[in-house]
């Protein structure tokens, strides 16, 4: 079932059009086709009610109607379900949403794809909920997150998508920078940068004690990385300096604090404010 809606949106919203998420501010748009959050809410609430001992409605039919509302577009439906999930915390809502996701048998790959598209939203609740869900999916069954799942997604972006890069680096800075450098730099250039990164990785931790080591090597590598032309390389240095400022020199830190790239400035501002890396 398709719906035609006139809506005035005053908050920042995510509008789904032809498989692409567009962030908008306050706007008025004439024809939004597809599933709405209130439709999702109706089904999720019905599932929650059924699991709370209230008379069950025909949940399967409701779920199918929801898919119809999305015009059969599973990607759109999935994204709306995930947005709903991030905006409506609480056990009943979360678990009922999970039942609905399970009903549609979304693959992990579909889930990742949909979640990644939400990582760049300005809606803090959606963003943090998305990261939480993505982390949970990526480390399901106690496995270490496997970042190679995201290579394909990166391949589809001309420029590194900030939200995804932020997420990948939060899981593993070295794996994140490796994946990004391989995708967005020429081979030799990537090799050189990653060589510095690997040198830093091996120099900064004493393998016997596990303690952080500050050596001329770490300072030198941090300096090199922090001056690199590619922001995703400088971001790698910034993350290390955020977590262990003693690894680098004051110059490196000062330079990165006023870096031209917002993600780098944001990373070091987190350290200054004591906020979590996310």
């Amino acid at each position: 079932m398709m719906r035609r809606l006139w809506q005035t949106v005053t908050a920042v919203v995510l509008v789904w059009t032809a498989g692409t998420v567009t962030q908008t501010g306050s706007l008025r748009f004439p024809e939004l086709e597809g599933v709405t959050q209130s439709q999702v809410s109706e089904v999720v609430d019905a599932i929650a009610a059924a699991n709370s001992g209230q008379p069950a409605q025909d949940l399967e039919q409701m779920a199918e109607s929801l898919l119809d509302s999305a015009g059969g577009d599973r990607t759109q439906l999935l994204q709306q379900l995930l947005i709903y999930r991030t905006r409506n915390p609480g056990n009943e809502s979360a678990m009922s949403n999970a039942l609905l996701l399970s009903y549609y048998k979304f693959s992990l790959s579909e889930m990742r794809e949909a979640l990644v598209s939400l990582l760049d939203t300005d809606d803090a609740a959606v963003r943090s909920g998305t990261i939480e869900l993505l982390t949970s999916i990526d480390s399901a069954n106690g496995t270490q997150p496997e970042l190679s799942h995201y290579a394909e997604i990166l391949d589809r972006h001309e420029q590194p998508p900030l939200g995804l890069i932020r997420y990948l680096y939060s899981l593993s800075p070295i794996d994140g920078v490796t994946l990004t450098a391989r995708r967005y730099m020429v081979h030799e250039e990537a090799d050189a940068a990653l060589q510095s990164a690997l040198a830093l990785e091996s120099a900064r931790v004493d393998t016997d004690s596990g303690e952080v080591r500050v050596t001329p090597v770490t300072r030198d590598q941090i300096r090199r990385l922090s001056q690199h032309a590619a922001w995703w390389i400088r971001l790698y240095a910034a993350i290390h300096l955020r977590d262990q400022p003693e690894l680098g020199s004051g110059d490196s830190l000062t330079r990165l604090r006023s870096d031209s790239h917002p993600l780098i400035r944001e990373t070091l501002a987190e350290a200054d404010s004591g906020k979590s890396p996310r």
């Binding site: 709370s52 949940l59 678990m95 009903y103 480390s139």
Partner: protein, 515 residues
Amino acid sequence: LDAETPYFSGDATISAKLRKDMTRRTCSMLTILLLATLVVSGARAVTPGEATDLIVTDRDPGSGEMSIQYDRACSATDHHIEFGLLEDVAGGSYSGQLCAIGASGAHAGFNPGSGSYFFLVVGNDAVGTEGSYGTSVIAGTHAERPQDLSDPACVFTQDLSQRCDVPSVELIAYRPQSESYGGPFLRRAIPDDQEVTPGVGIRVNGDDDNGNGNADSDDTNVPGENDLIEITLSASMPMAPEGLEYVLTRIGGDARVWNAMTKGQQIIGAASSAVLSFAGGPLTVWVEKPDIGNSQLQLAVQRTRDSSILASDEISLFAFRSIVIALGGEDQVAGDPPLDPGNQGTFEIAIDLYELGYDVHMYDEDVVSSDGSGVAYNEVVSAVRDRSVESIAIYGYSHGAGSTNDLAIRLDNNRASIGSFSIDFTGYVDAIDNSSDIDIFTETQLPQSTAYHANYYENPGCGLFSLCGGPIAGADFDLDVNTTPWGAGLTHFTVDDAPNVTMGLMNQLMMQVTP
């Protein structure tokens, strides 16, 4: 009578009937001078204090009747005389009473009979409560004289708890910070009747809250410290009356007392007692346990002259040897009180256990990754490695139950590197596997190495849109609540709040794990 004998070296209102050959002057000289009367305002509900400075002012040689004077007991509206045979003075037994001698501070015509007697004046409220008989050396220590329980003439019940001439003192201990006050457990005072038995639980402070590589018990200033117990101390009179002092004493054990949550200045440690002043108001101190075992703290009103204790309050301290981890369902954020009252049974149980003196840590289940790692795991490891904890209890609801299993697996697998411990209790309420936030499958595993597992679940028949727990092979307690009269209608979202479930789980945990 010899005023220097031990019995009379005290300060009680005591005198003796004189032999007939003694003169009035001698009588006065033999009078025992007592501690200065301490008078406090009548603002609080007080009971009579001690009548003092009793002297015999006259004696009729013919009749043997005596006239006496005394300083009235504070808060007394009447007084009576207790007397006994002189040979019974050491045993503190009385043979008679003279009732209702008033409150003028003088009485004439007292005659206990022929022979030698001791006597003393006791204040009362003219209703049924009497005050102090004074103190003396009894069995080698200064203590209150025994009251007259026979009450042959006038019946009184002694009550010294709010006596008007001695300040009252109070220690109030608080439950441990977990992990900080309000985060999530609120600051809660331990009820008076639990301060000594079972006592106040406190974590052995061997962890490293300031991350400086030393056990916190070896540091004197620990930013981030959260293992000390708060105690407030107060006295009804800010300034101790002359001749008295407020003394905090450690009785046994290794407890240390500091002036700050982060330690700071040591009040009790190398020294086992300290004289305190309440001139600036009630005091707050922080107690640390460097090692396992028990200790006791006593706040006392002591007489400076002989260290006799006139009033006191005590708390007993014991080191936690167990830890309880409570894991809510998906997106259930731990709060005290629960953020969704009536709908977060996991946290209701946790708060009850906390109030019963357990070292409880309650979390949203997301603190346990699907590999068992995370904040809850780190807390348990620290408890075992650094805080001498040896017994672990873990329970959870829905995804929190799935995480209970994940946590138990990781703990058991890493046992060799963690130290010696046992998982003495695990509990599931409608367990759902928690491989990810969107996992909906029933948890079926018995937590690894658990010594006792309780499993409550509902399973009316799981369909496409139903969440169901299930039986756990090997569980010590395995109940499908839908098969019970009280739980027939319970569902996934209601089973965790059912009183039979919350009480049942808590009781089983308490049977298996002590604080």
